[in-house]
């Protein structure tokens, strides 16, 4: 596609429910990144996919968080048993060159846990 597409744009969920956030990167981009943006906290790295390599999961905050990338394209970030502290904007980005020249970001999913 022309840009990085994320869905849904907004998600309100009840505490304890599972949520799935979707990212459709730019066609042909081999690298895909998930970041979390909390108010006043900047961008927190979550996970990084590069081609067929094992993902870098070092930023996932707990085992309730997981992500997969099917067929080297679309990625899904899953949060199980959501907590109020999970409320944030989840940003996806992709790049064609291991991020050497920067990323293209999607508009994000605003997650609110009530």
């Amino acid at each position: 596609g022309a840009g990085v597409s994320q869905s849904p744009s907004n998600k309100v969920t009840e505490k304890g429910k599972d949520v799935e956030l979707r990212c459709d990167p730019i066609s042909g981009h081999t690298a895909l990144y998930w970041y979390r943006q909390s108010l006043g906290q900047g961008l927190e790295f979550l996970i990084y996919f590069q081609g067929n390599s094992a993902p870098d999961k070092s930023g996932l905050p707990s085992d309730r968080f997981s992500a997969e990338r099917t067929g080297g394209s679309v990625s899904t970030l899953t949060i199980q048993r959501t907590q109020q502290e999970d409320s944030a904007v989840y940003l996806c980005a992709s790049s064609s060159d291991r991020g050497v020249y920067g990323y293209t970001f999607g508009s994000g999913t605003r997650l609110t846990v009530v």
Binding site: G42, F45, G99, V100, Y101, G102, Y103, F105, S107
Partner: protein, 114 residues
């Protein structure tokens, strides 16, 4: 690990005055440096980058940034601010080794006063 510091939470400037947003970084070896801008309810948009070459980098919307290796800084500048420049600005750094992810600062809110 690489890191970025953006020391000011908010920068207020009168329309038509010069705008500076400060950024210092820490990285092993030579850095790749980036500035992104985020408008309300939008993802991050790329402004400019420093990879190598001239220390003064020119980017989108009249912005420029100067790489200063001795001071480990990459301050963003615009000679004459516009009200439409009011947004959240993020500095990011990547090292040239195997770590392929960008580390972002916490962001600076810029408010341009008419």
């Amino acid at each position: 690990a690489q890191s970025v510091a953006q020391p000011e939470d908010q920068v207020n400037v009168a329309e038509g005055n010069p705008l500076t947003v400060k950024c210092t970084y820490s990285v092993s070896g030579n850095p790749y440096l980036f500035w992104y801008v985020q408008y309300p309810n939008r993802g991050l948009q790329f402004l400019l980058k420093y990879i190598t070459g001239d220390n003064l980098v020119k980017g989108s919307y009249g912005f420029e940034a100067e790489f200063n290796k001795s001071q480990t800084s990459f301050h963003l500048k615009k000679p004459s601010a516009l009200v439409s420049d009011s947004a959240l600005y993020f500095c990011a750094v990547r090292d040239m080794t195997g770590n392929n992810r960008l580390a972002f600062g916490k962001g600076n809110q810029v408010v341009v006063i008419p």
